[in-house]
């Protein structure tokens, strides 16, 4: 049996992950063509690279089908109930920084805080007959955040991409999305709420608490973490 390491299968997150492991003496690479989701590991024996979409990695960790996985804190917290019980953070990796935030049109000069958002939502509902819509793909995190802050009269609408565009298209009035620099927000004439930071996220190496491991795998895992300098 081998230790299975789940890594995002494409894009910058994959490249940065490969670089991070490479800098620590573990070579990760995609085997064969770019279309194949198979990988190779150099520098240690008994470790298998599993390339997955970043969004699938939390569930694979939770189910124990991979022993280690690289994904964002945001995805782990959104997708796993009681995430601390199924996965453990091994180390933050120093890239993929992104904040889950709430943003509204910059022209809403009267809305700068959650307090304002709540009041604007009440007035919006009275005027338009439906609740102020917030577009997001992080339903659980956003709902928990707004509930704990006592914001009412909003509704979440699902948006799996190009979330900033929903306001212009009038399918939402506000957004809750990941931003790294705020550049996309400004380009779309949006602004952050002052107290609307829901979560700071970055690429993180997680360990599955429930992945089955025999002595050989435990030894391999320990050797790998030692080599990565995170044991």
């Amino acid at each position: 049996m081998t230790v299975k390491l789940g890594v995002p299968s494409k894009g910058r997150l994959m490249e940065k992950t490969f670089q991070w492991f490479g800098a620590r003496g573990i070579g990760l690479s995609r085997a064969g063509s770019d279309r194949e989701y198979a990988g190779a590991v150099d520098g240690i024996d008994g470790v298998e690279l599993v390339l997955l979409s970043a969004g699938e990695i939390p569930r694979e960790l939770e189910a124990g089908r991979i022993h280690l996985g690289v994904t964002g804190t945001d995805l782990v917290r959104e997708k796993l109930a009681r995430w601390e019980q199924s996965v453990a953070e091994v180390t933050e990796m120093g890239f993929g920084q992104a904040d889950l935030i709430i943003a509204v049109p910059g022209a809403w000069v009267d809305v700068n805080t959650l307090d304002d958002l709540d009041a604007a939502a009440a007035a919006f509902r009275a005027r338009h007959g439906f609740r102020l819509r917030i577009a997001t793909k992080y339903h659980r995190l956003v709902r928990d955040f707004l509930r704990s802050h006592g914001v009412a009269d909003y509704q979440l609408v699902d948006s799996q991409g190009a979330t900033e565009g929903t306001i212009r298209n009038e399918t939402a009035e506000a957004v809750a999305d990941i931003t790294s620099t705020g550049e996309t927000l400004r380009a779309n004439h949006l602004k952050l709420l002052e107290d609307g930071l829901i979560l700071r996220s970055q690429a993180t190496l997680f360990r599955a608490r429930r992945a089955p491991a025999e002595d050989g795998e435990r030894a391999t895992l320990a050797a790998l973490l030692n080599k990565l300098g995170v044991d």
């Binding site: 109930a81 022209a107 009267d110 805080t113 304002d116 007035a123 659980r140 006592g150």
Partner: protein, 361 residues
Amino acid sequence: MPTIAATRAKAAHLRAQFEAAGAVPVETPVLQPAAALLDLYGEDIRGRAYVTSDALRGEQMLRPDFTVPVVQMHMEHGATPARYTYAGAVFRRQEDDPDRPNEYWQAGYEVFDGQDPAAADAEVFCLMRDALQGLNLRAATGDIGLLMAAVAGLRTTAPRKAALARHIWRPRRFRALLDRFSGRTPMPASRRALLAADDPMHGAPPLLGLRSRAEIEARIAALREDAAAAPISAEEVALIDAILEVRETAPNALEHLRDIAVDLPAIERAVERLRTRMGALAARGVDVDALDFEASYGRASMEYYDGFVFGFYAEGRPDLPPVASGGRYDALTRVLGRGAEIPAVGGVIRPGLMLELEGAR
């Protein structure tokens, strides 16, 4: 864990008891149109109920409780006064606690009768108490109407009162608003800058989306008015706090609330309702002198109780939810009845929890 068959039998037994008390048995569909529930509870209900959908009927929810469909049914074709009972499974989404069931049974009793609200409150409370006899439960009671009356009676602007009333059921935001309106927390710098600006819209990015410039200007005008209004006095905030802190046996609570009412006459009628209800409870054999009363009880639960609230708890089992709970929800009938309003009070028992406690004894 009791079996489904045992829970069903227990629920049927409870329903028979409620029938014997004069209630008509009713059934409701398991699948409820989501719109009414969403309208009532907002986005929070999605975290608590299972939502499903089809192309024809759109979003449906697995019923998270019976109260809403029973109220709807009554408002459509029921004649008042009416008493209903029901028993069946409800479904609650669980995302944090695997020990909480996502499907459990409820047996309930609902009264639509405006003749004598205190008597109706006592009737529901005592039916639950009698059905739970022998389980050694602690009864908690409260009254949301006190806080609502106190807010309505504040010497401040109507928009502030409306904002506070809207958040009666969200203690954290209620507190934040009260602190803001009373000047205890300073105005955020961004709002101060906004109010100081001659033309707040100057230099703002182009407006997009459905919320119009007129709406933004209306809110700025409202903020200006609010900034010009005198803060809610420290005395009045202290009185609200005093109400929220009332937590003692019912007679002591009544005395305490009467003292508060001297300085806050707006709650006099609510205090009088409490007194009348205590009389009605005593008339039905409740030991009112030993009954716990907590003025803030029930604030953080589903947001439709607006008067008497109660729950029955297993002593020494803080891990368990209340075995029975209920209260008065006149406001719910107003929302669902589109103007029509019927005084209503009800309660539910969880037969599965009863069996669990009986088995543990």
